[in-house]
């Protein structure tokens, strides 16, 4: 894969995402100049004005690298995912949404009809005529189409074949810079790509392994909410202080960014290497620190975690073994 005079093509796309991954890429600062020197950017909605029809017109396999962020929430997301898969040699599930569903995956606990009716019927929503979105809408000039919501949100690898996963919400900019550097080396024949399926731009251990906080023997008589223990001891393990911290199950790569500043790990780097189900691993970790033998007492301690599903699947529900609440799988459409 050596340079032949033509720049390699680069694309970045956001499906059901927030734009934070794009900002993280822009925050690689001067690495953007390296991208510019080595790539021709052909599609990147946050930064350039190329349209879907421009992508449709590209030759299959003509894009070397596509960073795809955002989950698959509707048929347009799915269409673009399949389109970019066809056009790209390497497609990276970039960031938490594309690799495991992220926060928007929490929507998988609700049927899609409920999601829509809530969104268009909140206390602060001004919708006196009860107008709800429809995929097809007739106007005097013709027919309008908006995408149809899927019954659940899916990570990218549940829709297309994915070459690499890059976790993080968003991926840390220094990790993105390292990945860009590697790809450029590969282009110049100075490095090899990692095996397909590799998790790139992250570590192989857990957030706990990167966390500088002191760890002793953990034994907890009660779980506490972070606002109930203020001030947080600045040097002691946060889980040891009774606050559910997702570090034990979460992949390293962020230098324990949140615990370093006195907040619990929320799990945005996804499952650590070898963890088959993030939530199951976390429940095991939490259970192991409970200092009680009587079922009633254990039950009481566990009640100290007010939102167990949100706690252990905050970023990972769509990518977990569960994937969704059963009711969300209903065929109900809007």
């Amino acid at each position: 894969m050596t340079v032949n005079g033509n720049k390699r093509k680069f694309a970045m796309y956001w499906a059901a995402s927030c734009g934070g991954c794009e900002i993280a890429v822009l925050n690689t600062h001067e690495k953007i100049l390296d991208v510019d020197a080595n790539f021709e950017v052909v599609f990147w909605p946050v930064a350039m004005d190329a349209k879907y029809k421009d992508v449709e017109a590209m030759e299959d396999g003509s894009i070397l690298l596509t960073l795809f962020n955002g989950g698959i929430r509707n048929d347009e997301n799915e269409h673009i995912a399949k389109l970019l898969r066809r056009k790209s040699k390497i497609i990276v599930a970039f960031g938490s949404c594309a690799s495991e569903g992220c926060i928007p995956g929490l929507a998988n606990l609700s049927p899609v009809g409920e999601i829509v009716s809530t969104a268009f019927h909140t206390l602060t929503t001004d919708n006196p005529n009860e107008i709800y979105p429809r995929s097809t809408f007739d106007v005097p000039e013709g027919e309008l189409h908006i995408p149809t919501l899927s019954s659940v949100l899916r990570p990218l690898d549940q829709v297309v074949d994915v070459d690499y996963h890059m976790p993080g919400c968003p991926p840390e900019s220094h990790q993105i810079a390292a990945v860009i550097e590697l790809v450029i080396k590969v282009i110049h024949g100075e490095a090899e790509l990692p095996p397909k399926g590799t998790v790139i731009g992250a570590g192989n251990s857990t957030v706990c392994d990167e966390c500088p906080r002191a760890r002793n023997v953990k034994s907890i008589k009660a779980f506490k909410r972070i606002q109930d223990i203020a001030p947080v001891d600045p040097t002691l393990c946060i889980l040891e202080q009774g606050v559910p911290c997702n570090g034990p199950a979460t992949r390293s790569g962020c230098n324990a960014r949140c615990p370093q500043v006195g907040a619990q790990c929320i799990g945005c780097y996804g499952p650590a290497a070898g963890v088959m189900d993030y939530g199951a691993r976390l429940i095991t970790a939490f259970s192991s620190v409970i200092d009680a033998n009587e079922p009633d007492e254990i039950e009481k301690i566990l009640d100290g975690i007010p939102d167990p599903t949100g706690q252990v699947y905050r970023f990972n529900l769509a990518g977990s073994l569960l994937k969704a609440n059963r009711s969300a799988w209903s065929k109900e459409q809007v």
Partner: protein
Amino acid sequence: MTQRISIDPITRLEGHGKIEIFLDDQGNVANTYFQIPELRGFERFVVGRPIEEMALITNRICGVCPEAHNMAASKAADAAYKVDPPRTGKMLRELLYSAFYCADHTTHFYALGGPDFVMGPDAPVAERNILGVIHKVGLEIGSKVIPVLRSRVG
């Protein structure tokens, strides 16, 4: 015969959008429809979750302006607990928000909206973006400006 122009997707802002423009027989704009082709369901899945989670859930609505959502959620938590933060807390929030205000405007000016004006509306797509601006001012200036941005973000 009505002519239809689709702008799909709209670009260089956070949030997904599509614009359908219909022209009449004279080629004038007869009607325009702005459409939002996305819904992730934050309104639904924040329901029933702990108040302290809101600041970290709702800032995922927009990764370009997470600070604004974080601030709104923090104020909602104040209201839920019926507390008035101490002066230092309020000043820290104001400091964060001021920094965000500067960062957000420079993001829009340099990376999102600005290139249309610097390069001109008729410049080719490949040049009408932040990289085109860097090409225009020269790599030397570009590589001097970027470290300034880095020191700002810290």
